[in-house]
């Protein structure tokens, strides 16, 4: 049992590290803010979760605590990405797009409303 958990742990840790790298690399490589956010959020979240889970498996008495952190990351990371994207958009940072930007109108409406106030 312990050995199984250990190797499982190795696996998750390795996977996590790789995804952490990919997330950072994505942030480095992607062309604009929103696409960077795409890469950064997904990969680093999974990477961190996986790595921490790996540690939790290798060290079973730590498992619950690592689980808490995993849950926290799962909740908090997407939210901070969302808040950042919203914040960036409101500072007039337009996304790189050839197709559609449905959000633009909403922000504009909002701004005119604020000015009227």
């Amino acid at each position: 049992m312990e050995t199984v958990l250990l190797y499982l742990g190795y696996f998750f840790v390795s996977l996590g590290a790789v995804f952490l790298f990919l997330g950072a690399f994505g942030i480095f490589r992607m062309p604009d803010f929103y696409t960077r956010l795409q890469a950064g959020t997904k990969s680093s979240t999974l990477g961190a979760m996986s790595l921490i889970l790996g540690v939790g498996l290798m060290q079973p008495e730590w498992f619950f605590k690592t689980l808490i952190i995993i849950i926290f990351i799962a909740i908090s990371n997407p939210i901070s990405s969302h808040a950042l994207a919203r914040g960036a958009y409101k500072t007039h940072q337009k996304p790189l797009t050839d197709t559609i930007d449905a959000y633009e109108e909403v922000v504009k409406e909002d701004e005119t409303k604020n000015e009227e106030e």
């Binding site: 995804f19 990919l22 997330g23 690399f25 994505g26 490589r29 992607m30 062309p31 604009d32 929103y34 696409t35 956010l37 795409q38 890469a39 959020t41 997904k42 990969s43 979240t45 999974l46 008495e61 730590w62 619950f64 605590k65 689980l67 808490i68 799962a74 909740i75 990371n77 997407p78 939210i79 990405s81 969302h82 994207a85 919203r86 958009y89 996304p95 790189l96 797009t97 050839d98 197709t99 559609i100 930007d101 449905a102 959000y103 633009e104 909403v106």
Partner: protein, 168 residues
Amino acid sequence: MENVSNISKLIYTWIILFIVWLAFTSTLATEEVVTGMFVSMIVALLSFRFFTGTGLSVFTPRKVLYLIQYFFVFIAALIKANFHVAKIVLSPKLPINPGIVEFETNLKSDFAKMVLANSITLTPGTFTVDIVENRYYIHWLEVSATDEESVYKEIAESFEKILLKIYE
């Protein structure tokens, strides 16, 4: 939904927080447990009014089952998403076609909306930029459709179906 009693909310909050405490301390030593119950009760008293809208009612077997189902759907999407990102990031050409699309949700509670938004964010090629009333604005790495119907189908349907069952 509105009729959830405060006691139920309080106890729900207390239980959740106590579980968190137990996870933090990772021990069942008497003094720790007693302290934990005490501390979680204080914090629960402080926060139960807004911590939960459902109270203990969320603990029906059906809902718990849906929760588990949601968990697996989500994990699957998450892993898919990551390999998707890996592919894009590592490919020399960066094959993307980004844009922001929108769709409308049927979820009512803020909490459910949040869960959906987070799920979308962690799944392939998409993340939630904002929710305005019931409309989601999603940044999509490879825009394959712009009409709401297909956007909804593509991005949100699988999660929302389950969430509706848990929270409505």
